[in-house]
């Protein structure tokens, strides 16, 4: 028996800590607007996001958000169900805060000589707050607000290198496509509201029957919502901002967007489709099984991402396309749902997003390190880096093989579960066999370009006349930490899988 009960809103603590950190950064900035005290700013950011991480993990372990039937403290609903803190919310808050922490530590070196230190970190914390709120949002309105809260700082972060053409161009493209997809998303919300008369997700589900005569309208609204998710998760058809934005953005920001922002996009997709549009009643109303859309999107996204990645010469663009490919893998989590289950695929997609948070962030941070060194951007420029920086290159090897899904690294586990889940889903929907086959074929293709980077740094002869490479503490720490997490996923995958599967089971039921 606890001595005192925390109020319900305390369940939002991870998001609240993130926003408090952002405010603290504003305070620091207003006390000394020209501070160059990088340690203070990056330190505050890192401590804030680590605190959010710790609280989120603690809540999960302590059973906050776990249904009382399963021995937990119950799902916390706030503001009339506008926000909800359940296992899925906490799981994705964990993903967001761990990525934020890694990126903040890495930015200490990368953004070292940048003029707008406080702005950079506070924008990042605001975006992280938006993403954490996305994890908990349970109504189309809160989802939209959280989405915009995450997006607007992101546009600014991408173009924060104001004098760099690529950065500004990437930011502009990101913003234009983001604005377009937001418009589509809002229009989709209005159609869903028009058909069902509700915005809160459970209420939408309860009123699907009433939308009978507006089935087409509802279907169109759902399609538009999918457009909004596709933008946020960098999936087909709104994927094309990603390569330009990631390439132009500072590498830590690219890491942040491609890992945390993608995961946040997926959590709202998971929540909206499992809560608001349960498969059977929705199919009865709109006449089409919405998993079909995700099956097509998953196959197209992963194939397009992988083929495009295989043809790149620029490492950062390769990673950008690979990030599109991984969005395709995660989409399997929705494609594999069926009336009688699918918790394995969805749990696997959640695991994949978590592991992806480590390995992809690590890979982008290695690019950040390379940019810090100034060695160039293409595969050839990376040749033989292992002679001068074996530790970082060893970590890079771990990230690449993990992204390719080679055991015993973390990426293998989540891909393995995705595959197993897809095959199991095929008992209900044999189209999932094609998805499973596409997953395998794409994994095989992806090995080519991931191994190419490993080959460049480890096997090719070094570029002659390269200067000695520095060892920036923050970047190295972040990269090594990400590599350790990718490897340690092996022994601790049991609890991770349990958490994700439980969360998925609760979300689906």
């Amino acid at each position: 028996m606890a001595v005192f009960e925390l109020p319900d809103w305390a369940a939002l603590a991870p998001a609240l800590i993130l926003v408090a950190t952002a405010l603290a950064l504003f305070v620091i900035d207003s006390i000394n607007p020209h501070t160059k005290n990088r340690s203070l700013l990056a330190g505050t950011t890192a401590v804030g996001s680590l605190a959010a991480l710790g609280v989120a993990v603690w809540f999960m372990v302590a059973g906050v958000g776990t249904p009382t039937a399963a021995g937990g403290r119950g799902v916390v609903e706030l503001f009339g169900g506008q926000l909800v803190v359940d296992q899925m919310a906490l799981f994705f808050m964990t993903v967001v805060s761990v990525v934020t922490a890694l990126v903040a530590v890495a930015s200490y070196d990368y953004m070292g000589d940048h003029a707008y230190q406080a702005e950079y970190y506070s924008l990042m914390m605001l975006a992280a707050t938006g993403m954490a709120t996305m994890a908990a949002a349970n109504s189309l309105v809160t989802i939209f607000i959280a989405l915009e809260l995450a997006s607007l700082p992101s546009y600014a972060l991408v173009s924060i290198l104001k004098d760099n053409r690529g950065s500004v161009e990437g930011g502009l493209k990101y913003f234009l496509i983001g604005a377009l997809s937001s418009a589509i998303f809002v229009y989709g919300i209005s159609l869903v509201y028009g058909a069902t008369g509700h915005l809160q997700l459970e209420a939408i589900a309860d009123n699907l029957q009433g939308a009978g005569e507006y089935g087409g309208l509802l279907g169109l609204g759902i399609l538009m919502l999918i457009g909004g998710f596709a933008f946020k998760t960098a999936s087909v058809p709104f994927h094309f901002w990603a390569p330009d934005a990631y390439e132009g953005a500072p590498a830590p920001v690219a890491a942040f967007l491609s890992s945390a922002s993608k995961a946040a996009g997926f959590v709202i997709a998971f929540r909206v489709f499992t809560t608001a549009f349960p498969l059977e009643p929705t199919t009865a109303v709109i006449g089409v099984d919405w998993t079909l859309a995700f099956i097509i999107l998953a196959i197209v996204t992963m194939t397009l991402g992988n083929f495009a990645a295989a043809t790149q010469d620029n490492v950062k663009r390769m990673l950008a396309y690979s990030s599109i490919g991984h969005a395709g893998y995660a989409l399997i989590g929705l494609a594999g749902l069926s009336a009688d289950g699918g918790e394995i695929v969805m749990g696997a997609a959640m695991m994949h997003l978590l592991v992806y948070g480590f390995m992809n962030t690590g890979a982008f941070l290695f690019v950040a390190l390379a940019e810090y060194w100034g060695v160039g951007r293409t595969f050839e420029d990376y040749n033989g880096l292992s002679n001068q920086a074996p530790v970082a290159c060893f970590a890079l090897g771990i990230f690449m093989f993990s992204l390719a899904g080679i055991p015993p690294l973390g990426g293998f586990w989540s891909k393995y579960f995705l595959f197993t889940g897809a095959i199991q889903a095929a008992t209900a929907n044999s189209a999932m066999l094609i998805v499973a086959a596409a997953l395998v074929v794409n994994s095989a293709i992806s090995l080519y370009y991931y191994a190419r980077l490993v080959k460049a740094v480890w096997i090719e002869d070094p570029v002659s006349g390269r200067d000695t490479l520095a060892q920036p503490t923050g970047l190295y720490a972040a990269i090594i930490f990400a590599a350790v997490l990718t490897v340690v996923a092996l022994p601790v995958f049991g609890p991770i899988a349990d958490a994700a599967l439980e969360a998925a089971t609760v979300a689906i039921s």
């Binding site: 918790e343 394995i344 074996p390 090897g397 093989f401 080679i406 055991p407 015993p408 293998f412 393995y416 579960f417 595959f419 197993t420 889940g421 095959i423 199991q424 095929a426 008992t427 044999s430 066999l433 499973a436 086959a437 395998v440 994994s443 095989a444 090995l447 080519y448 191994a451 080959k455 480890w458 096997i459 090719e460 995958f493 049991g494 899988a497 349990d498 599967l501």
Partner: protein, 508 residues
């Protein structure tokens, strides 16, 4: 917990070696590798298992605990040894120690990383041969690829980049095919609740799959059988999936070649035996003729390819294709001597091909060429190394009282009398003809390189090889002769584990 100890020692040893200074890495790795070798030899003497690991046999050194619960399926850590896997584990540990010693001369850059990777491979190979849960097994199976890719890619010959990526892509694509097929099978088997191989084997033999996604039960079993056979066939390799092998071997540094031919190829045949030939007796019978045809073609075609080579290492590499053909023939015969002989041949070929690659490597260290046309009369300058090369070649040809003789004899004996394989006499006779070609190309190559007047255009000082190059070859030769004289040392435990397989379809 012996197997866990074995794995842990090797993995920790790999990490220690990885961070050790280059200067001492070779000696350190050798010292470390003696621990798993000694442990596995102790396990060999203390072996108390009986029967087949998948078919209700008594496992030795078994340990099991649940790991991950995935929906209705349990993934558990399940390891153990039976009469098929134990000899292969001993082969792995002993061959790794010897391969490490044989790399002291040729490896002269990034030593700590090299030896660390070799030990890492060893750990994964032990895992492949001991794991009895599909999930655990697959992790080890795939994890072998990364270090081997790097061994070839970083320390290999001039075309190493091409060879490394070819090796990786071929074997990985094959693994994915096999993996997809097997997972489909597990879901097709209605009442299975784990990935443990014994449980799956039992379910397969008691009724088989119910069907999956529109495929009926027996159709599913056939599809899975063929897909898994193809997946493993690349690893073995058999014709026409063999083209990665010569490239990988020729470019790989000597110790990597030793492990590649000695143990990695056996992963393919071991998996064929464990999966295809244990779980699918009906499909083995149905596809016996095509499989036997593939085996015979591999034997003859591989030997013909070897005949056409002028690079000593390529000759040995292609002859592996030929030897692996014998193993497949023995498996498909489905008799005690056939399958038992095939398993014996896996060990025997691991020893002999390892020996041959070491001998060629020692000659290369001194001459810096492997071309048959570049040298002659090497016996004059390197009598000991060349003597061992000749002895190894005779082992390859199947000289009695060496292990190769017993392995091939058992395979032919078993295959000739096979009741399951139609036209078995014809297939066996054709395969026997391979022996003639093997003798032909080996003798032809030896005649040109080691005998005759000494001739070699080189600036290098060619002299006797150092002791630490020759010693591992003597050890291998000793084991080869010991197994040739007393094959029952391992053949008894092999047949003990093979017999239960044959009770389900073949004639025991």
């Amino acid at each position: 917990m012996m197997i866990e100890a074995l794995l842990a020692v090797t993995l920790v040893g790999a990490l220690v070696t990885f961070v050790a200074p280059n200067r001492i890495a070779g000696k350190l790795a050798f010292g470390i590798s003696l621990i798993p070798a000694a442990l596995s030899l102790w396990m060999f003497t203390a072996f108390d298992g009986s029967g087949n690991a998948l078919l209700d046999g008594e496992l030795a050194f078994e340990s099991q605990f649940e790991w991950i619960q995935l929906g209705d399926y349990t993934i558990s850590w399940l390891v153990g040894l039976d009469g098929i896997s134990l000899p292969l584990v001993v082969l792995t540990t002993v061959l790794t120690s010897l391969a490490i010693m044989s790399s002291w001369t040729p490896i002269d850059e990034r030593e700590s990383q090299f030896y660390g990777l070799v030990l890492f491979i060893e750990a994964n190979l032990i895992g492949v041969f001991t794991a009895l849960d599909f999930f655990v097994w697959f992790i080890f199976w795939e994890a072998v690829l990364i270090p081997m890719y790097l061994l070839i890619g970083v320390w290999g010959g001039p075309r190493r980049k091409y060879a490394a990526i070819k090796f990786f892509v071929y074997t990985n694509v094959a693994s994915l095919l096999m993996f997809g097929a097997f997972i489909t099978l597990v879901f097709g088997l209605g009442d299975v609740t784990s990935f443990a191989l014994p449980e799956i084997a039992t379910a397969m033999l008691e009724g088989g799959p119910d069907g999956f996604a529109g495929l009926g039960g027996s159709a599913l079993a056939s599809v899975v059988f063929v897909a898994m056979f193809l997946g493993f066939a690349v690893k073995v390799p058999v014709v026409p999936f063999h083209t990665w092998l010569p490239d990988a071997h020729v470019e790989a540094p000597t110790p990597a070649s030793v492990l590649l031919a000695g143990v990695l190829l056996k992963m393919g045949t071991y998996a064929l035996l464990r999966f295809n030939f244990t779980m699918f007796p009906e499909q083995v019978e149905a596809y016996a003729i095509p499989i036997a045809a593939i085996a015979v073609i591999s034997v003859i075609y591989g030997a013909m390819l070897a005949l056409a080579q002028t690079d000593l290492k390529r000759i040995v590499a292609y002859s592996s294709v030929s030897s692996m053909g014998y193993v497949i023939l023995g498996l498909v015969a489905y008799t005690q001597f056939g399958v038992g002989g095939a398993t014996f041949q896996m060990v025997s070929h691991g020893l002999i091909s390892g020996l041959m690659f070491m001998a060629v490597g020692v000659i290369y260290n001194a001459t810096h060429t492997r071309m048959v046309t570049d040298m002659s009369g090497m016996a004059d300058r390197m009598p000991v190394a060349v003597g061992i090369l000749v002895a190894g070649a005779f082992g390859y040809m199947g000289l009695p009282l060496m292990s190769g003789f017993f392995g091939e004899f058992a395979i032919f004996f078993g295959a000739f009398g096979s009741g399951l394989l139609a036209y078995s006499q014809l297939f066996t006779s054709l395969a026997m003809f391979g022996i003639v070609i093997v003798a032909g190309y080996l003798l032809f190559a030896l005649q040109r390189t080691v005998f005759g007047p000494y001739h070699l255009e080189t600036d290098y000082d060619v002299g006797r090889a150092p002791l630490h190059d020759v010693a591992p070859m003597f050890v291998l030769l000793g084991i080869i002769i010991a197994l040739g004289v007393a094959p029952e040392l391992i053949f008894d435990m092999i047949t003990d584990a093979v017999d239960p397989i044959l009770e389900n379809g073949g004639d025991a």
